[in-house]
């Protein structure tokens, strides 16, 4: 499989105000995004990629020929891949409140000329969708062929179908849920406590330890017990237990490395903001807690996929969404993919996953190009 190659992020500047769900007004904002593939003349082949908690706009390709780290969804996006960039024009955006170039806590608040930091307004999944819609207008995309995403990205796709069904032909909700479970919120709360209890956070500095701890916790929940067993087992770093070291087990070393790297590249306030957006996402809430009613007015088609060992967003959570869609009489295709890689599965090149998702996207391409 080939890659989309070297990509360059672009910036969308929205000069007008955006009213947020929390009641605050953002006087203009910027969104950083990347695109892959070509928009056709009817503008009918556009796909929007929504990222998850710690993701960003860099979903596919590399930044230069030597770049060894392709975008986070490179397994799925590229020429001949499940989301085929020879067919689709793919737009991938860094969400509002992010820390990779879009307006967010690390960017400058024009009112104060200082970084927003913790004062950046609370944003919700609905706010993200509203801002993405403005980007679509700017790019001349009246109707997306698909809005796709995994985890928190899948929640945005679902919100698109509920808020702007007429502007999206289909949505792919992968390894996601229509709302978080209490267990999920609990994990997010521990992560937030790790960050806010780090003395560096109170002092206004980067809470490296807290952020690393939050990431380590997250990582454990993104993997499965079997997956960790396969990947690390009980392997010792030094090979024996004589002269106990600080880090003995491979899994400890891995988690520390992941935590440390994350703490140097991610913003603590963005992490807090993203976890709140996750926790508060609940489109059924406005419909007397009936997901069926929330979906009643949607006209988009749905693709729902889950992974057997994902306990953070378990297959049963995807099934809840599918059951509601069937009950509401909406078009849906659903696959539960066998995988030992836990929640992270949605990022990985799992044969059946890519084949099924690819079949869906290719069928979609025929539909949208025949219609236009």
């Amino acid at each position: 499989m080939t890659s989309v190659g070297v990509v360059t992020p672009q910036t969308f500047v929205h000069a007008d105000a955006l009213m947020l769900q929390c009641g605050e007004r953002l006087d203009g904002f910027e969104l950083v995004y990347e695109t892959y593939g070509q928009l056709n003349s009817a503008a009918s082949n556009a796909v929007l990629v929504c990222h998850a908690l710690s993701g960003n706009h860099h979903a596919a390709g590399v930044y230069n020929e030597e770049d060894a780290r392709p975008g986070w969804w490179d397994a799925c996006i590229g020429p001949g891949k499940a989301v085929d960039t020879d067919k689709f024009f793919v737009v991938s955006v860094n969400n509002l409140g992010g820390c990779h170039g879009s307006s967010g806590p690390p960017s400058i608040n024009p009112a104060t000329n200082q970084a927003w930091g913790p004062s950046f307004p609370t944003v919700t999944v609905q706010d993200w969708v509203a801002s993405q819609l403005l980007l679509a207008d700017y790019l001349g995309i009246h109707r997306f062929a698909a809005v796709i995403g995994g985890s928190l990205g899948g929640m945005q796709a679902l919100q698109w179908a509920i808020d702007h069904s007429h502007r999206v032909h289909s949505v792919a909700v992968i390894a996601s849920a229509a709302r978080l479970s209490a267990q999920n919120i609990a994990f997010n709360e521990i992560a937030r406590q790790a960050i806010t209890n780090d003395p560096a956070y109170a002092a206004g500095n980067n809470p490296e330890h807290g952020l690393a701890l939050a990431r380590m916790l997250g990582h454990v929940t993104y993997l499965s017990a079997d997956g960790m067993k396969t990947k690390f087992g009980r392997e010792l770093k030094s090979g024996d237990l004589t002269g106990l070291q600080d880090v003995e087990f491979q899994v400890e070393s891995y988690l520390r490395h992941q935590g440390q790297r994350f703490s140097q590249t991610f913003d603590a306030n963005t992490y807090l903001l993203m976890t709140y957006a996750l926790d508060y996402f609940d489109p059924a809430k406005d419909y007397n807690d009936s997901l069926v009613d929330a979906l009643a007015a949607t006209t988009s088609k749905f693709f729902v996929a889950s992974f057997s060992s994902d306990w953070r967003f378990a297959p049963s959570r995807s099934q809840e969404l599918v059951d509601a869609l069937v009950q509401a009489g909406k078009p849906v295709a659903c696959a539960h993919i066998e995988s030992e890689h836990g929640h992270d599965s949605f990022l990985l090149p799992i044969e059946r996953y890519l084949r099924t998702f690819g079949a869906y996207m290719n069928h979609l391409h025929t539909e949208v190009t025949n219609a236009s």
Binding site: V322, V326, Q327, G329, A333, C334, A335, T356, A359, H363
Partner: protein
Amino acid sequence: MRPDLAIIADLINPGARVLDLGCGDGELLAHLQANKQVTGYGLEIDADNIATCITKGVNVVEQNLDLGLANFASASFDMVVMTETLQSVRYPDTLLLDMLRVGQECIVTFPNFGNWRCRTQLATHGIMPVSGHLPYNWFDTPNIRLCTFKDFEQLCRDKNMRIVERFVTDRDYRNGPLINRFPNFFGTIAFYHLSRSR
């Protein structure tokens, strides 16, 4: 189109809500969507079949029928179809009742173990029947709940399931006077149209 599916398609009203259990490659639902404007969903467990359904634009949901239909609301479908699958599910009796809970009516097709070929192999050769329609050996067959038409109709009586209509054919899905006279002996496949008892 597969001849048995054509027979079933004729029994389904235009615009109906249809649930197809073990929908295979989605041929029936694709036909019904294109020609009868039905809202259809297929339940399937095989990965290749699911991908084929998706390629055809058929609504397919990955679901193991042995775990029941509890996730579907009562009376949420007009017709629930199950083609040549009854003999391979773990709990055919409870599944049939669940089909009639979820749907107003249902259509079930399955092979007849009372067919003369089966009877002959067992009676004269003393071996488990293997035929074109039931091609498996006893040790590798997915068909773990084989029955005769008589058995099935007894179950319908016991469970208060009403047989609206029965249509019996040979292995090429043809019907004839001999089959109509002695269905449980000459029939190979039966199509049962069931509803809840009044």
